[in-house]
Symmetry: C2
Subunit: 219 residues, 2 copies
Amino acid sequence: MKKRIGVILSGCGYLDGSEIQEAVLTLLAIDRAGAEAVCLAPDIAQHHVVNHRTGKEEAGAARNVLDESARISRGEITDIKLLDTLHLDALVIPGGYGAAKNLSTYAFKGAECTVDSGVEQAIRSFHDALKPLGFICIAPAIAACVLGSRKPELTIGNDPATATDLETMGARHVECAVNNAHIWQKGKVVSTPAYMLGPSISEVSKGIDRLVQAVLELA
Amino acid sequence: MKKRIGVILSGCGYLDGSEIQEAVLTLLAIDRAGAEAVCLAPDIAQHHVVNHRTGKEEAGAARNVLDESARISRGEITDIKLLDTLHLDALVIPGGYGAAKNLSTYAFKGAECTVDSGVEQAIRSFHDALKPLGFICIAPAIAACVLGSRKPELTIGNDPATATDLETMGARHVECAVNNAHIWQKGKVVSTPAYMLGPSISEVSKGIDRLVQAVLELA
């Protein structure tokens, strides 16, 4: 039986949704490892829509997180409300501002953030069942928010303010190179800084490959 | 000096723009090979917007090809009108219906199609300068339309009607496995079927890796 790894997306584009390259590299790493990726997203409105050429918000524009996430997965996507029907072995959340604007309020509230109820419940239920979780780029902020009381070890890159936010939420921030991933063995949580550090897609891919490999070994 | 490879995008999502996975795999292969990817797109309206969860057209919705393409390239994108300023060594066009709906009219006109003037001029000028060109998935239909009179050898997958369209435009259709790419040596044109055949991102990645490797060797 192939291991089935849920990939929680947050839209399509790093300024208002999932970081597309990180999401695709995650799907690639899962498939190459002989496992099956199952894409999920909440059926909610995006916080906003950002023009990725200009970097400016498009006033009045509206897009749906589940619809836009389906662009990355070629239409194969499930509402996260149906998570329990999917029999998954692990969950991975790629980065992009969507993780901090749609899946959580981290971009606006910092260490006072909250997490989308469906995503929070998914993380809690997998963690309680000792199923591994992977967090990429800025997504460890979600892990800190939900699991902070358990003192998870998490990467976030090298921005001191963001690292401090994670520690304020209860996590222990760990330095990690972009081509590597950190494993919090006790809690089966893996994280990698990806585009929080950059500097190139091939370096980011190495860290994501490590993360997926570790998640599969823990599953 | 790093070789600089132009990647012509057609939006963001396989039903109305670039096939996202093919586009990202192209960027990954170029970076891994030590070359530089330079993303380009025409500044035109998309033919339409398709909801990728339902597969249905969103009536009244409008998106711009250059703006949406920038989602894939993290904002780093150039209007194809400025191609001559970029000093590129080769061009690659990923697939997705955007190649057949935005960059050309192939999805609607078949062998009677036309190609966006900026894209057509880019292909002609690179071909005339003996610079290599790569076409992925359905994008070889664009090559057949622009270069048909030169009898290019092109892949398209295994759909007989599409292969016939290519031959009607003057090309010679070549069977090719998804994990491989075909090189038309005389014209320095490389193509691979990618998601015209599928069946998985890791298989598609092998063909795109081959295509990029061949394009770089020819450059």
